[in-house]
Symmetry: C2
Subunit: 225 residues, 2 copies
């Protein structure tokens, strides 16, 4: 219940990360080296310490993603909401863009024609994009299942798949299928996740990739709050 | 761990709400009549059953908000992400719009000039909008504190303030100040909330206001998932 009158917005985030770090220590929680900033940012975005336990990182996934971002990788999301939450300015600084095809009328038409979800058609469309790609899935288990199928069939080789759809039906299974596929991935195991978590993992990676922020500085200073 | 192969997307949401209802019953959780669809949608959007306990509704808030929506009220958010998540089509059907002034260059300039957050200047700007207004705050405690000050000073009389900023510094206090002010409000007490929860409460109200959906139908059928 920390209350600090007249705190500068850029200091709110710093203080928040200090509180999160202290609480993780109190809980005796050891985070995997290299993943701390991602886990803490997920807790920061949700105030939910379950993310200290449920996040899974495939071996080498974070480093590969950081290299890809620095080399201009683009990010594909499955919701306009996740797209809106990703720091486009930081990504653009590296040469990348954020794509979401969910509102594309052509996608809607094809989905209806084939009797599948728009999320599936969106992923097929995105898989044809040129250059390095990171997929960030916060909503649709069908998007994640489609990406896993495309990966297994050798049709896509993304730099990273962020598999954090939220929900009660087919969600857990879509994450398990992704984990079993061998693709480089970050997953929120279980039911939890969401567009906010998908965007937040992308932003954590973007801020880590941006060495101008300085080592140990966890977060984006902003006048947002 | 419900897995249903080949389920139609519109049925995923229906099944999800059934699972949520069952789990609430198992937990012996009684929801306040008239708030069920809002609470369940927050759980649906986060897979976090804490929302069964932490949501506070001021007396009559839901009915006043539903009337306001039907009369063309607009919604003001404190993030582009929340704005992106709100069903603009449903709102437009009633005559309302969604506003977010956080990316407005004039807002950024004034915030810098006055040494306050962009969120504060955004709220001042929004309070001058004509017509009925609902505020949905999922990120910035300073936005919520400013709205509470404006309300106490008699300068705004919004139809509803959704106070669900998430975080560790000044967040709990901003919600307590709102609750004490007497303004019509829906609050996620404690640290939890977020842009996703702000958007989700707006959507729950929009779907409830839309009687064409039929009584008892909790959710938006969609091809999203």
């Amino acid at each position: 219940m920390t209350y600090i009158p007249n705190i500068r917005p850029m200091d709110i985030e710093k203080k928040s990360f200090e509180i999160i770090t202290e609480e993780l220590e109190k809980r005796g929680k050891q985070l995997e080296p290299g993943t701390e900033m991602i886990v803490k940012r997920c807790i920061h975005t949700s105030a939910d310490f379950d993310y200290a336990d449920n996040l899974y990182f495939s071996k080498g996934a974070v480093n590969r993603a950081l290299s890809a971002i620095r080399e201009g990788a683009s990010i594909v999301t499955d919701t306009e909401m996740a797209k809106a939450g990703i720091s486009r300015r930081t990504l653009a600084g590296f040469g990348g863009k954020v794509y979401c095809f969910m509102s594309d009328p052509e996608v809607a038409r094809k989905a209806k024609e084939e009797g599948v979800t728009r999320a599936i058609i969106s992923m097929r469309k995105a898989s044809a994009l040129p250059g390095k790609l990171i997929f960030a899935i916060g909503n649709a288990p069908t998007a994640l299942l489609e990406l896993t199928d495309l990966y297994r069939a050798g049709k896509i080789r993304p730099e990273l798949i962020i598999g954090v759809p939220v929900g009660f039906v087919n969600v857990v299974q879509s994450k398990e299928a992704l984990q079993a596929s061998g693709a480089d991935c970050i997953i929120a195991r279980g039911r939890k996740g969401g567009s906010n978590i998908a965007a937040c993992i992308c932003n954590a990676l973007l801020y880590m990739a941006d060495s101008t922020r300085g080592a140990g500085h966890s977060s984006q200073p902003s006048m947002n709050r």
